[in-house]
Symmetry: C4
Subunit: 257 residues, 4 copies
């Protein structure tokens, strides 16, 4: 394997499909969102993406089976006659600069082959989130962007970079005159953030007029919040202990002088 | 995108053109100079350079649009019948060694296609600048270098390296028997330095007999100098506080002994 | 040499061969195991693998001769009419991500050319080993895995990564629909660990019904254990000295106050 | 320039030539030796080697001219009817692993084109040198190695690596069945070491029966030794000051207690 390759598992005929991409990144927002959609829509696998720019290890599954790191394409037939969906997620982003460009390029080629009419990429946006995470949007097309804003997304601040596959796909799509939209959920970024993923999916639902129940994410959100609280307590305890130690040392110093 | 590519937006007929390059680098001298020329001459975009050796993120513009990092070629028709100009600047230098050589190579190929008769590269030269920044010159041709010296540039010290695209273009131009000149403005290098850019543009004006008003840079220079003064004050304050703290600690030690 | 190449020293006809791979890695388990097999079976060299992704130095041999870093393929004719063996080990793993994929790919191509029916890779598994090191197994095929479990290997924990050539060969083998099994000996990993290698070879003997005496490894194991004891003593002494120093300093402090 | 290239400046007919290589490395031994030979033999330039794996800067010469980093091939016609010489040195080693292999490969291809019968590489060998630096030899051929030993070189210790172009050329030469010898001068390695270069040239003179006066190196050696003495004095002074400071601080502590 000298280059990134896509292996199709089945020939699939799709109706005017929309491709939605979400690889691991800040808060794992993109991957959480895509995995939730796959589960809810019962989407089916139909292609793998392999790359020599992924990390050089393999993963072991429940039964002792083994596989390369990869990206996976799923499809979902929309029974209401609207756009079918292609959902893409995977284990990792590329580990080299050239690999980042190469993988984004391959995903777009695959989209072209399947006559994809619209590409949406999902990721996280690092910020000190207060209440409900907002969703930041950027696009290759003003019309698309407008749809996102109507769905309560906010304009991405000017000059801010969008790092990795979620960004490069848009940059390269523009060169190929393909329509693409990027939706980033606000997240502190250092822990899996299903709340940010839910915010993104709400915008996505509205834009695509998708019938998906998002309540299933609430359990994951509750777990993630417990985790945050637990980590905060550990942090506070550590701070308290550090304070105690400092006071003890201060006493000694006072005593000496 | 496996390699650096140049996409032309329009077919342009240029009269014996001179290509002037300035990518971001020390003191951002090259980019500041080229951007100023573009603005003053009202030069027009006519080609983009994309590369998988640029950093792997995209930029968002004012309206939520998105683009890959890139270099941009502008042209300017010289109404006095002398040489037309091609101006090149961009978002970033290449991030890999091979990318540095590849991008410089592509720029030269583009110059050859457009029958460019002379290439000038602009950058910064790190030094503790006292008064007016001097301009350092090096060239593939003694005649060209002489023109620069007559325009009050100084000879580059022997053995000193010129790093990045501004240097490699000259090295590769020599192999292709193309004439090229490098002008480096003296700069401390850690902040945008429009003063160094102005010095370079003065030399460039004189060499090319260009009619460009450089007064417009003075406002930028004033801003940059205020920034330097502000940073110096912060630095002085920090030094003072450190001194205070040291004295306090000295007292304690004295007291103990 | 732009790419990894395999140079065959002799044309060899093998009977339904099994390829066993073990490059240096954690505890050098794979290389120790393969080298022991080569010695015991008196296997013969028949091909070298060279790569521009190995480190850029050469090795000097006893007689002042010199050679590139390389991998070496050995063969062993099984007189009992069962599978012949191809044994592969070498000086180093690839130093780049792409090199890791490329070398694993070349080894599989070589295996295909020689009509290899089964590939077994050997390595180390980092863990705080108590008694006898266990052997962890993963495979591209449930039947193969079952054979390993019957030979007292244990299932690899789900989600754990297998890093480097021992893992990538399995990942890539699956794409080529080749059968492959990975056996990892538990090891602390920071010293050569012949005990872990012996555990792996015991499982391997049983799976392949190989007649190899493993007693020859006991001397190496004894040496390695002496080394561990020596390092532990050095460590304890250092800890004691640190304790002494601390007490001395405590005295001073008490005295001051 | 996507790959390493060699540009010949002149077509030269050479008589059974020997190629001697010395790039910068430990103690710059190889480059100092080759440059001295070039000067003494009045050898002439006839080819340049350029590579996108060299560092990405250019050098400015005395007159403000500019050039890429490169390697240079020189030739010398041996009037005594023996072997002509090709001498190779340059500005830098390759900066990437693949580049190291690629450049060594290109040099060997060039040697093959010029029907080179023997290749000798020169470098440094890091060791705490006492008196006269010894010369360490390794070779692709026992006969060649024997010649070096008769010329008072010593056998390279087994297992020791020879890093960079001086080593890789031998490793790759062996694959191409070309004869090659490596001579390494003992050096502490952190300063230019003409004394080590002289030792190597003495062995080389004897092996090739070359008539070159090495006395011209003595001036460089004297200079280098003055530099070492100066650095040692600076070091001693620094050590003394540190000692003083320590004593002062000890006094304080004693006073406290």
């Amino acid at each position: 394997m000298k280059e990134t390759v896509i292996k199709e598992l089945a020939a699939v005929q799709l109706n005017n499909p929309i491709l939605i991409e979400g690889l691991p990144g800040l808060g794992i927002v993109g991957k959480i969102a895509i995995r939730y959609l796959i589960k809810q829509l019962k989407a089916e696998k139909f292609a793998y993406l392999y790359s020599p720019h992924f990390p050089y290890f393999v993963l072991v599954n429940k039964k002792g089976g083994i596989r390369l790191l990869r990206g996976t394409f799923y499809f979902w037939k929309n029974k209401n006659g609207k756009n079918d969906l292609i959902l893409f997620t995977g284990d990792s982003q590329a580990q080299t600069i050239e690999g980042q460009y190469e993988i984004s390029d391959r995903i777009l080629n695959f989209a072209e082959q399947h006559k994809v009419s619209l590409i949406i990429t999902i990721g996280g946006y690092r910020v000190e989130v207060k209440d409900k995470p907002k969703v930041i949007a950027a696009s290759t097309s003003p019309e698309l962007l407008n749809k996102a804003l109507q769905a309560k997304a906010m304009l991405s601040p000017m000059g801010s970079p969008i790092v990795g596959t979620a960004g490069l796909i848009l940059g390269l799509a523009r060169l190929k005159k393909m329509d693409a939209l990027c939706l980033l959920g606000e997240t502190r970024g250092y822990l899996p953030d299903p709340k940010a993923a839910k915010s993104v999916l709400e915008v996505l639902k509205s834009i695509l007029d998708l019938d998906v129940d998002l309540a299933g994410l609430d359990e994951e959100i509750a777990k993630a919040e417990k985790m945050v609280v637990r980590l905060q307590k550990i942090e506070e305890k550590r701070a308290l202990q550090a304070e105690e130690t400092r006071k003890e040392e201060d006493k000694k110093v006072t005593y000496i002088s």
